[in-house]
Symmetry: C2
Subunit: 164 residues, 2 copies
DNA sequence: CGCGTTTTGTTGACATGTCAACCATTGCCT
DNA sequence: AGGCAATGGTTGACATGTCAACAAAACGCG
């Protein structure tokens, strides 16, 4: 009756992939419906908002949004062009800069947050007991954590190590 | 000591997103290291392999790989250009065709499968008990399922409904 | 039957991200 | 010091996907 263990794991993977697609799609749709920027912007603005007042280096932002350095450059170009973020040259390291949230960026963030949280409530939070959420985190963190550990030698790329 | 419930759910979501990024990255890396096609191709070839011998309509493939119709057209263009798939006009419906796995496509699939399964074993399956896998599926399927149910009116796009 | 609507799939314009090559700076290390 | 590898970030070429508009066939119904 019970399924083959490998199949169980494959099913779990498929469930994971589908759930993520569904969720992202819903969040993205909800934001768009309110004429708000996409999810990636939210992640950046949010990270900056939570960070100390003196901003973040792109390098650190790269951890929040899973993006290669060049992808991040381009994302910041766009957000910056929209005036939601400033690039201020960093005194302690003339190679890079520090990214700062502008007033307009902070305002946009405050418009996005309720939409994000509301949709998340409908599509995710309300479907999970607190215990299940805890379990979920625990199990899935094991998966992401193993990437760092096991990344011994089958992962040559630097980008892969920086998985977010 | 115990966290705020909303924060628990947010953590769970972050764990989910990170785990998925990690997994996809590892699978993709492993395939590339063996000079094999990317994950999306695997999904298509696999779906065709499991399907009845007379192939599948693109429409049906669209469910397996979460892609818009145009995205699917382009993906099939590439796989077809690589000779792994044939487009055969469908007698019962002259609008579209049927997609068939070629010999070369089947061979490629058989080369990808062990790489896929091996990497998945390392990065996922081995980190989960059978019970946990079952639980994971159960909980996450609830999330994807709710999209169909709740899609009442906040989801105008057809693409959103076809979440895979 | 004949016409409007739905279904399938494609195409052009464009958005977003990757990879590889690159520049400038920093930080050792001798 | 002085040389040189590692770090932080950008850019060009390109891959892949979306959206909107479209074409063609299939449906369905008065």
């Amino acid at each position: 009756m019970s399924k083959n263990p490998t199949q169980l794991k494959l099913d779990a993977l498929r469930s994971l992939l589908r759930a993520r697609t569904t969720l992202v799609e819903r969040l993205e749709t909800a934001l768009r419906a309110d004429d708000l920027p996409p999810l990636a912007w939210y992640d950046v603005l949010c990270a900056l908002d939570e960070a100390p007042g003196d901003g973040l280096r792109p390098r650190d932002l790269g951890f929040a949004v899973a993006l290669t350095p060049s992808g991040l450059t381009r994302l910041l170009d766009r957000i910056s062009a929209a005036g939601m973020v400033d690039r201020k040259s960093c005194p302690s390291d003339r190679r890079g800069y520090v990214v700062l949230l502008t007033k307009s960026g902070a305002e946009t963030l405050e418009m996005m947050r309720p939409v994000y949280l509301h949709e998340l409530g409908l599509a995710f939070a309300s479907l999970l007991s607190d215990d299940e959420a805890k379990q979920l985190s625990e199990v899935l963190d094991r998966v992401s954590a193993s990437a760092c550990t096991a990344a011994g030698e089958p992962v040559p790329e630097p980008a892969a190590a920086r998985a977010a």
